[in-house]
């Protein structure tokens, strides 16, 4: 996978962490938002045996799909000790996506959790098109 630097900003929220990410299309947006979450969460040094997992997710709508998508990546890290290196959306519609997720097993010598994101919330979740760009606003529970 070709890792890109995500385009996002951090929003202020007293309880949690909010981010606003952008993309040229839905594929770009979902990849970007995931990378923004990962960049916020984990500092990664090279190393470890990489593997790829394929995800297939359904959602009620784009916002729900985004919450489920990010939640799935979060679970891989928090629940399965798989440090996600990068993501690639293989296909996406407003209610379904397929993706490939590259990961390495968690290694405390290589991986530092900088910010413990505990959950992806539905609070103020927004996935919409503004000024020709797709935009996602997500609030995480810390």
């Amino acid at each position: 996978m070709k890792k890109k630097t995500p385009d996002f900003t951090v929003l202020n929220h007293t309880a949690d962490l909010g981010i606003r990410a952008h993309g040229t299309d839905l594929r770009d947006l979902f990849e970007n938002t995931a990378r923004a979450m990962l960049q916020t969460m984990v500092r990664i040094r090279p190393g470890g045996k990489a593997a790829t997992i394929r995800l297939s997710l359904d959602g009620q709508d784009l916002a729900d799909l985004m919450v489920r998508w990010l939640g799935e990546i979060l679970y891989l890290i928090a629940g399965e000790d798989k440090v996600v290196l990068d993501v690639e959306i293989d296909s996406i519609t407003p209610s379904h996506l397929r993706a490939s997720v590259e990961y390495v097993p968690f290694d405390p010598e290589l991986h530092e959790i900088q910010c413990e994101i505990k959950a992806v919330t539905y609070h103020q979740i927004d996935v919409s098109r503004k000024n020709g760009l797709w935009q996602a606003t997500v609030v995480f529970d810390l």
Binding site: A15, Y75, G79, Y122, H123
Partner: protein, 482 residues
């Protein structure tokens, strides 16, 4: 509803009303004081109180406690009670960290004895109490044992040698919530709970060695076993990844279910199910599992604190005499009896960053506190005081037996980190006589005192509004954070 539409009408120096408007089914009622009110208008917490007021079956008022601040869905410091037949249960109204709560322990030790040893004591606690981001501990549960923890709560911990049976009497619900059903849990929740029992966590979770700095009510303090100059220990922790996964699982299921319900939500995080529906029942059964896990967690942490004190200070158990004063939860939903319009009915009370507050004489109180009222524990931030209060009748009258849970955040973590840039927080605390150990590099900056409301004002508002009454003030001497 826009923030511009939110009006606050002052009822008295401690209560403000948000009049019913638009989709609100009931008015909002905010407990605060004139010093705290301006900060409420800086975030969206009042809008969230109004949003909660739109939920079906809500009774009385949508309530905001004095530490109220912007959460997700429900405000943090939000309380709402729902009719069992018409009303809803909302996982967001409980929170991700189900039964995040705290416990306070008393000792026979004096601060002047301990002060020379505080660095050693805190370092030993830091070594012995697993804490930090995603921390796993010394306990690795089999699926069978995890099921027992989910059903029995703190009872499981005591049965397995962590503490004494008398600890259970001094825990809310005796450390076990009825109705837990592990069969409704996902494999993911089970997996996340396997290795995290007996861990403190991170963020605003902490363990603090304190001194009783001031006693306000000598009679109640005596009943609670508190005296000036005494060493106490405060633990703040919850249900860890187990509770988070349970909330996450049910939020997703309930959100998907919303399209079939005739309920319009102003915020998707308020996703809810009818209390008496199958989905509502399953969430309550799962929530009880997480609540029990958290009580077992705090019971185990307390046991290790006792062991650490005995070993580090080389004292005998009778000299230490570390007793649990009380354990309260502050993220929970409970089926309780309350008087509404003169009639005694059962309601489902959601407390999201709010603490139960029962007055003297209440049947749910343990015998030892029945004449005094329930101990209410309000932790401050790591640099300031914590408080012990006693539940009052005012809470039963005005807030479904509820009060606040802490100081309430003013700044986001990134704002706090910015404010703390270039500062050595550890040294600042040391200069004030507080020795701190922290695993996370950013934690101390995120948790600076300026990030929180003035806890003494919050407690003043609690006391002034009659939700609970001040008993004692505790000052930190040593803190460990994840």
């Amino acid at each position: 509803m826009d923030m511009m539409d939110i009006t606050l009408e002052k009822l008295d120096n401690y209560r403000w009303c948000i009049p019913r408007k638009g989709a609100m089914r009931v008015p909002g009622l905010i407990f605060s004081n004139p010093e705290l009110i301006p900060s409420l208008k800086q975030d969206q917490s009042l809008k969230q109180v109004a949003n909660v007021a739109t939920l079906p079956g809500i009774i009385g008022h949508s309530l905001g406690m004095p530490d109220i601040h912007w959460g997700y869905g429900f405000p943090i410091g939000g309380v709402a009670a729902f009719d069992l037949d018409e009303g809803v249960i909302s996982p967001g109204g409980v929170g991700y960290d189900i039964n995040c709560g705290c416990r306070l322990m008393t000792t026979r030790l004096r601060a002047d004895e301990i002060r020379p040893l505080i660095k050693d004591l805190v370092s030993a606690l830091f070594k012995n109490i697993p804490c930090g981001v995603g921390s796993t501990g010394r306990i690795h549960l089999s699926k069978n044992d995890e099921t027992k923890v989910a059903v029995q709560g703190a009872v499981w911990a005591v049965k397995n040698g962590y503490g004494d049976p008398e600890d259970l009497e001094r825990t809310e619900d005796a450390g076990t919530m009825e109705g837990a059903d592990p069969s409704v849990l996902s494999e993911r929740a089970i997996k996340r709970g396997k290795d995290q029992l007996g861990t403190l966590g991170s963020g605003n979770h902490f363990l603090e060695v304190q001194v009783v700095d001031q006693v306000y009510d000598t009679g109640k303090a005596q009943a609670f076993g508190l005296w000036e100059g005494q060493i106490t220990v405060f633990i703040h922790s919850g249900s860890r990844g187990f509770g988070y996964q349970i909330c996450d699982d049910f939020l997703k299921e309930i959100s998907a279910h919303m399209s079939g319900e005739d309920i319009t939500l102003p915020d998707r995080q308020l996703a809810c199910a009818r209390i008496k529906s199958d989905l509502g029942r399953r969430y309550l059964a799962a929530m009880a599992c997480a609540a029990n896990y958290a009580w077992a967690n705090r019971q185990i942490l307390m046991h290790w604190v006792r062991e650490t004190f005995l070993e580090t200070l080389s004292v005998r158990p009778a000299e230490l005499d570390m007793k649990l004063l009380y354990d309260v939860c502050h993220n929970i939903a409970k089926i309780e009896s309350h008087t509404v319009c003169g009639e005694r009915i059962q309601v489902c009370v959601h407390r999201k960053g709010a603490t139960r507050s029962l007055p003297a004489g209440h049947k749910l109180l343990p015998e030892i506190y029945r004449d005094v009222g329930q101990p209410v524990l309000i932790p401050g931030d790591m640099g300031t005081y914590s408080y012990v209060l006693a539940g009052s009748e005012g809470a039963m009258i005005h807030s479904f037996g509820s009060t606040c849970h802490g100081a309430g955040r003013l700044l986001s973590r990134s704002q706090a980190t910015k404010k703390a840039k270039g500062r050595f927080i550890e040294n600042e605390l040391k200069a004030r006589g507080i020795f701190v150990r922290s695993r996370g590099k950013k934690t101390l900056k995120e948790e600076i005192s300026e990030a929180y409301k003035d806890v003494s004002q919050v407690v003043e508002a609690v006391h002034g509004s009659g939700l609970a009454c001040r008993v004692a003030r505790l000052r930190p001497l040593g803190v460990i954070k994840g």
